[in-house]
Symmetry: C2
Subunit: 109 residues, 2 copies
DNA sequence: GGGTCATGTCAGCGATCGTATACAATCCAA
DNA sequence: TTGGATTGTATACGATCGCTGACATGACCC
């Protein structure tokens, strides 16, 4: 029994896609199960960072995935590295979801 | 070492508030750490369902909380109860975040 | 070739997010 | 009690969400 880490929206998306396939569901099936559009499932599986927490948790639940965290003793001693993480990775992922630029065809100086 | 389950936005909010206090941070501190407003932290801690996945994951990471899921063998046999869960609980929680009604002061018949 | 299914993508639209700012509650120490 | 720090709320505004509906692609089978 492996423990899969969920650190980014992409991780969550990958997990959802995985579980969905294991259960032999297509995007439309899952969408109906959790009460969202097929487009939503499609985008979330691709790591959409702005997806709403509630819907994502519903998706995981519907797929039988129980997200959890280890809560140690409770002392402040439990905060290891945490350096505000990979800013680069975060920015790169976010860039993929930037709004379409339809005007400003001019790159400016 | 206990395993805490994250099934709803309220669960996530409670976890965030807990970890934040253990680390002796106020809402403003945490907000700065993850690059959001203090209001955002305040609302998320209270279980805002529409909070964006990316920001929530950043908050958890900043607090040293690593969300994870157990990935069993991979067989479809791993989807136990899951009956679209507590519709009532979900609706009740969602109701708390309904938009303010500023017009329609008339309740209609 | 023709048909079906699952997936990826686009456009437009109303609803909601997250923000800045301001002010009211609480709490706790002195 | 007084004062400061922390938290809870309210408003308005631009940005983004999630939706519908449509169309294109690719895989697969007939």
């Amino acid at each position: 029994m492996t423990q899969l880490l969920l650190r980014t929206p992409a991780d969550v998306g990958a997990l959802i896609r995985d579980r969905r396939r294991v259960l032999k569901l297509d995007q439309a099936d899952l969408a109906r199960m959790i009460g969202v559009s097929r487009l939503w499932v499609n985008q979330v599986e691709k790591g959409k960072p702005g997806a709403s927490l509630g819907l994502v948790l519903r998706a995981l639940d519907a797929l039988g995935a129980r997200p959890m965290v280890d809560v140690g003793a409770g002392d402040a001693s439990s905060v290891p590295p945490v350096v505000t993480a990979d800013i680069d990775a975060i920015m790169a992922a976010a860039r993929k979801w930037e709004p379409k630029r339809r005007d400003l065809p001019d790159g400016g100086t």
